[in-house]
């Protein structure tokens, strides 16, 4: 591999350039791509599945699929859209396999020293993280892509192959549920893998039995 004149451009490469150079044979560009995406991907996946160790595995799984698919990536969507689309799939597969396991999320009222009001609770990162895990994962993925990753509705729609209207609806329902949880009024099941809505107040239970 010769060291080319324009090997090291004076600015950081755009995603598209990174991909093009990778495809041309600069395989180390993949490392740059990993560096560029790994932290936010980890956070996204962790917030979706709620399991820190497994989220590292899923980040790797995502990059493996990205690496496989990159030569055929035609740029019809933005690279970030495509990467998160893969990540969302990886998460959904994981959650589907784990469907029968329950992630118990403490009720606000059961926590030691629960914060007194919505404003305090919404800023408590542990409480907010748990609240996110207590809503259905389809809603959670949408609201995280919007608020954690910064995607537009259009981008989320592309990434998840759903209509923009569905994105809007899911984000709205996610927020409504989260607000109810944070106000201390909602939620029984606390199952991270649950796709249906949850209802009623009560202590978290194992809805599927072990």
């Amino acid at each position: 591999m010769k060291l080319k004149e324009n090997f090291f451009p004076s600015r950081e490469l755009f995603d598209g350039e990174l991909v093009a150079r990778f495809i041309e044979g600069e395989s180390f560009r993949f490392n740059e791509l990993v560096q560029r995406y790994s932290h936010r991907l980890l956070n996204f996946i962790y917030r979706v599945i709620g399991d820190r160790e497994r989220s590292e595995d899923l980040v790797q799984e995502t990059f493996i699929r990205v690496h496989r698919g990159l030569p055929g990536f035609e740029g019809r969507s933005a690279l970030s859209t495509w990467i998160y689309s893969i990540a969302a799939n990886v998460c959904r597969n994981f959650l589907a396999k784990r469907k029968n396991a329950t992630v118990l999320v403490p009720e606000i009222a059961d926590r030691p020293d629960p914060a007194p009001d919505f404003a305090a609770r919404v800023q408590d990162q542990a409480v907010l993280g748990d609240a996110l895990l207590s809503i259905p994962h389809d809603l959670r993925i949408c609201v995280l892509l919007s608020d954690l990753i910064g995607f537009s509705y259009e981008q989320i729609a592309q990434a998840l192959s759903i209509p923009v209207g569905t994105v809007k609806s899911r984000i709205f329902r996610a927020r409504k549920s989260l607000i109810d949880v944070l106000k201390g009024q909602a939620v029984g099941s606390g199952t991270a893998g649950d796709t249906s809505g949850s209802s009623g107040k009560g202590t978290p239970t194992d809805t599927t039995g072990s």
Partner: protein, 214 residues
């Protein structure tokens, strides 16, 4: 007041995704409706707080020695760690190296040699050929690895097995010659007969790697 029809719009409004006419109507409504204003405020707080959620804590990467490499520790999530495992699954055999950066140069070199993953995974007679074994940081091959525990490949051991006697000889020396632009450091890495030049930038990213003339 029937605010239900505005609720979903409030959510889109907070995201800047509400069409101008609807946004104008919503703003008119918000001017007169305290509970909708409260909902808007709560949604905005929620959006901001979600955006501020931090990454999970990752333990600092263990400096691995041959002892740690054999222990069943989970590989730490760094870009190099990820890349190492991607490389192991997608292309190339792993060898125990001293530096993580070397992993990538081996990948590049093997890609140049045009070897297929299967060929590389099976140790060959050729001296210096990388053999599929211990990986950087931890011997925990991903489930997709085609060579995991493949006892039909002669000489192949699972990475949790004992190290064999045929360890490659690895040496690293600083490279005193001209470095590529942007390189902070350069090293000469020798693995048995293979000699590589590796250049890394200030952040430790490999920016160039190539075989040196023997």
């Amino acid at each position: 007041m029937d605010c239900d029809r505005f609720e979903e719009d409030i959510s889109a409004y907070v995201d800047g995704e509400l069409a101008p006419e609807r946004a104008a109507r919503l703003q008119d409504h918000l001017a007169t409706c305290e509970c909708c204003r409260e909902l808007r405020d709560r949604m905005m707080q929620l959006k901001t707080s979600i955006g501020d959620l931090p990454e999970p804590e990752i333990a600092p990467e263990e400096l691995w020695s041959p002892a740690t490499a054999v222990a069943p520790a989970r590989p730490r999530l760094t870009a190099l760690g990820i890349f190492a495992r991607v490389a192991a699954v997608t292309a190339v055999a792993a060898t125990s190296f001293v530096f993580g950066i070397v992993f990538m140069s081996v990948l590049q070199q093997s890609a140049q040699m045009g070897s297929s993953p299967v060929e590389l995974m099976a140790p060959t007679e050729e001296k210096g050929a990388p053999s599929g074994r211990d990986q950087i940081g931890a011997p925990a091959p991903p489930e997709e690895s085609t060579s995991r525990g493949d006892s039909s490949v002669p000489g192949y051991e699972t990475s949790s097995g004992p190290r064999s006697a045929a360890e490659p000889t690895v040496t690293v020396k600083p490279y005193a010659g001209a470095k590529p632009p942007g390189a902070a450091k350069a090293y000469v890495l020798t693995v048995d007969d293979t000699v590589l030049l590796i250049a890394i930038d200030r952040e430790g990213r490999v920016i160039a790697a190539r075989p040196l003339g023997r």
